[in-house]
Structures are given as structure tokens and as C-alpha cells.
Assembly symmetry: C2
Homo-oligomer: 317 residues x 2
């Protein structure tokens, strides 16, 4: 027998929903990693009205129609699935800038469903939550994809082996520091996708699957050198990196400063670099500042680690 | 200081050099697996003449010019590398039929270099031995590739993340049984390579690298279900399998009999299937017999396991 959802009107929960790095260089469309920071704050309350109400506690002018909002659409689906006689009120304080390439839309979708599930006595599995959250990604980009929402919900590093049917594989990894720079330019996901070629050379594809196999093995063997050698992308990065000024210099100087490697976060414009320790991650930050200050581009840098937990329940209210 | 090679004239060693399965369905050109059987027997002796002498103890009419022989070319390279004042006599008894698709040429090359290295006080590393053995593969197919010689020398399952520079990654895996059927038809490696398209769809490549990442994770997590789900090839198999009569039926019936999955071994015509236990592997064998008996095609089936050791020194003589 299924457990009960026990919804309690006016019960409230606050969660922190973190940023994520999709693709991880050689894992285009299939790998993702959960960051410790930045994270959105979301407060979700069960209400007696059968609706989803959205409010914003930040400066972003996000749609309040639930079906046009990445946090709203998944909650509407949850209510439909439960044939619920209640609804949700959602207060969103975004700290992850939309369009930054570190999973802003995924954080809204994942945070909403994890918070709702907490209020529903954890009725749904993590995999079910990913399915709901993917409807949020569809609102944002027109496509149901899971390479941000899966790591955001599961934490750590996840492989999306397949979308249809959905097959999420958590990939254990050693401690890693992540330096992420967000240059203040706009790269639209649709543009970043459109410039990709529909066909690739078989010999390049072979290199790419050699690298993703090496990366997964490197993570699971705690082999930092292998991780570094495998962080190579011969298909997507050569095309997309031209949209990001300073990309080549950031990569070159970060590696010279000791980073294992890195590349474009999601579809950009953010760039991430992996390091084995905080000191190196800070040295990488310095290099990123140097590059973007030189070309006069406003930017923000995060030095953080892998978040093993994913969306975190902060408190019941 | 390097250790000494201490060659002793007339010292002899006998090795067993096993068959291998390259590609492993979704790992075209990068993955390989070492079989416990069949294996060639090779007897190598240090001789005072500066040359490589080849003799055959089987019915195969292999070239005796060392530079035209897959066992000979790597030994010539070893002698050149050492600037040696001695040579090797090699007696080969092939049990792995050339052209079967289970690494016959690799077994000759790998067996020769491992035997020679044993006689040379294990002077060379395994990686160096793979480099020498790749010269044997070049004799056989015109291309230096390592997806058979690496698992043959290292044992177990290996990933060739990159050929230039050579990067071999051993992949730990749980116990697996392998059923291999060799239908007695000829598929020339050059033909099998020529029918492949030079370009592939990006969306197919993404599926393929999702699968190889899943396969590596499945091996390292001892997750049999994940291994099975990941044994899917949307790029090479649909093209190459048309060269192998009965392929679709073998695959379908083997899986119905409980196999996790499988596909073309190397460039064919052999087909391999992985199972979790001997009983299932034997049931798969029965299905393979049924399919090939039905279409009246002579064939041979091996039921074996993964060989964790690779080329094995049988005895010093």
C-alpha cells in the first residue's frame, strides 16, 4: 500500500536549491554536477485553494502564470497527478541569475518539487521528482532535459544515460573544488544549440566517448590525473566557445594555475574549472579575474565544491 | 638505474595468449575484454642469432617473414629498441582462428611480447608491451590499434581513452560469463570498416556516449542491470550486423534466455553475449546453436569468463 501524503494546510518549508554544471566538457547532454553555491531560496506553503501561486522575492521579473514559470509547471503536474484538493504558494528568491549557464531554471524547478514533496510526506521518489522538474525545463527551453535537474535533486555528479526511458545514474567522485566564472554577457540556450552541427565525424565521436568513459572511470577511481586528461571536448566546445570572449585564455591560465581542467558550463556563458583543493581553486579565481578585467568584461566568480545532497530542506515553518 | 635484461641463450618460455572481444557494443574502438578461452600457445626461446625466427605448430599458413607476421614485427621492434646482440625463436600454435573477430592477431602479438619480456627479466612495462604489440596489429590490419592487445596484455576490461598519446585505463568489473559464437563466414576487417559512415548524427553520438558512460559505471558499480541497459549500439551495429546472418535472432533469443546483452565481437563475424552466471551462459549457447543450425551455418561456441590476468606464463623450460 502506498504511503499517505497527509497535506496540512498552511504548512510551510524553506529549501535551498543549488546551481548545477551540465555537460562537464565531454558529457554533452548526459552529465551534470551539483554545486554547493550559489543557491536559490524557495519557500513553499500548502494552501486550501486548488492552484499554484507564485511570488518573487528578488529583482527578476519572472512570469507568475504557473504554466509559464519553471517552478510553477512541475507543481501543477504534481497536483494533477494527485488529483489534489489543495494547492501551493511559492515564494522564490533567486540567487542564480537566469541565463548564467549554471542551471538557474533547473534550480527553480527542482527546488519547487523537492519542497512540495517534503510537504507531501516524501510521497514521490527522486526519479519521479526529476520527471516533474523536467516539465519546468520544458517551460524554460522548450525541451525536457534532465542534465541540470537530476544533479540538482540527487546531488553529486549524475549521468543521464537515457531520457526516454529516463535512466539516472549517480556517479561517485572524490572531493573536487569548482571555480565558476559568470561573465555578464547573454548566450541564449537556443542560439548555443542552433550553432551545433547536426552531424559529427565518427572519429571525433570516438574521441568523445573515449573521454567520457575515462572521465567516469576517473571519478569512480578517484584518479585526478585521469579526470584531467579526460576533460577534453572535440565536438561542442570548439563551436560554442567562440560565443564566450576570453574562453581560451581562462582555460589556458586556469590549467597553468593547477586546475585539472574544465570548460563551458551548460550552454554558457559561465565557465567552470575543477581543482583538487581550495588553494588551487582560489588561484584559478584570480586567473579568471585577470582575463576578464583585461578585456573589461563584468563577471562574477564562485569558488565552491560539489554538493553531495542536492536541494536542501532548510527549515519547516 | 634501469634493471638488467640478462638474456640467457636457449632459455625458453611457453605462454597462453587469449582471445579478446573489442568494442563491447557501445565502446567502438575504445573498449575491450579479455577472454579465458580460447588461447593460442606460444613458445619463445632466446637464440644467439640476431633475428626473429617463426615456426608454426598449427595448420594455419602464416607468413614466416617476421615483418609480415603479427608476432614477428613486435619482436623485431623489441630487439631494435634494446640494440640486442641476440634474437628470438617463436613457435606458434594458434587455437584462435584468424578472422574470427576475437583478437587472433592481437593474441599472436601480445603473446610474443609478454613471452619475450618474461625472458628479458620483465624489463618493459605493460604499457610498453602494448606499444610493441600494436605494431603487430599494424601488420594485420594496416592500423595501430590497441582495443584487443591492451586487454590481452592487461587482462580484464580495458578502456583505450586515447591512442596518441596512448592512455590505457583498466576498468574493474564484477564476475561475468561470456558466450561467444563464431559462425564460419569471413568478414574482412577492412570491409567491416569501409561500410561505416564517416559522419554520424550528433543525437546518435550522444546516445552512444550516454551508453558507454553507463557501461563503465555499471562495471565499476557491479550493477548488472545497468550493464545490460547500456549494452546498446545505435551507430556501428545497425550497419555491421547486416554482414552477419542470424545476428538479430542470436541477440533476441540470447536476451530472452537471460543474457544481459551483447553484440558483434570486434568487427565480426563472432557474436558475444554477457551473462551473470554459467547456467545462463550455457542457455545462451543453446540458443546460438539453434539459430545457426536453423540457417545451416557451421559455427563454434565458447562458454567462458573474463580473464583477469591476460597472457599467462605457463612454464619456463
Amino acid at each position: 500500500m502506498k504511503q499517505q501524503i497527509n497535506p496540512v494546510i498552511n504548512q510551510t518549508v524553506k529549501v535551498a536549491s543549488p546551481g548545477t554544471v551540465a555537460n562537464l566538457v565531454c558529457g554533452f547532454d548526459v552529465l551534470g554536477l551539483c554545486l554547493d553555491a550559489p543557491a536559490d531560496e524557495m519557500t513553499v506553503t500548502i494552501i486550501s485553494e486548488k492552484e499554484v501561486r507564485l511570488k518573487s522575492a528578488d529583482g527578476y521579473n519572472l512570469p507568475t502564470d504557473p504554466m509559464q514559470n519553471t517552478a510553477g509547471a512541475p507543481l501543477v503536474e504534481i497536483l494533477q497527478e494527485l488529483n489534489a484538493d489543495f494547492g501551493f504558494d511559492v515564494l522564490i528568491k533567486k540567487n542564480i541569475k537566469p541565463g548564467s549557464g549554471i542551471g538557474s531554471s533547473a534550480a527553480s524547478a527542482a527546488g519547487a518539487v523537492v519542497a512540495a514533496n517534503h510537504l507531501l510526506n516524501n510521497f514521490f521518489s527522486q526519479e519521479q521528482l526529476v520527471r516533474f522538474a523536467m516539465s519546468g525545463e520544458k517551460v524554460a527551453s522548450g525541451v525536457k532535459h534532465a542534465d541540470n535537474v537530476a544533479p540538482c535533486i540527487y546531488g553529486g555528479i549524475t549521468l543521464i544515460r537515457s531520457i526516454f526511458p529516463l535512466d539516472i545514474v549517480p556517479i561517485p567522485a572524490p572531493e573536487l573544488w569548482v571555480t565558476v566564472v559568470h561573465p555578464q554577457i547573454e548566450v541564449r540556450t537556443s542560439d548555443a544549440r542552433q550553432i551545433l552541427k547536426k552531424q559529427v565525424l565518427l572519429k571525433d565521436a570516438i574521441k568523445q566517448w573515449g573521454n567520457i568513459a575515462g572521465l567516469v572511470a576517473g571519478f569512480m577511481k578517484n584518479d585526478y590525473d585521469l579526470i584531467g586528461r579526460s576533460l577534453e571536448d572535440v565536438i561542442i566546445e570548439p563551436v560554442r566557445s567562440i560565443l564566450i570572449p576570453g574562453f581560451d585564455d581562462v582555460k589556458k591560465q586556469s590549467k597553468a594555475a593547477g586546475a585539472l581542467g574544465g570548460g563551458i558550463s551548460g550552454s554558457g556563458p559561465s565557465i567552470f574549472m575543477l581543482s583538487t583543493n581550495e588553494q588551487t581553486a582560489e588561484a584559478v579565481k584570480k586567473e579568471m579575474h585577470t582575463v576578464f578585467n583585461k578585456i573589461g568584461l563584468e563577471h562574477h566568480v564562485y569558488v565552491t565544491t560539489i554538493n553531495q545532497q542536492g536541494v536542501k530542506v532548510l527549515k519547516d515553518i
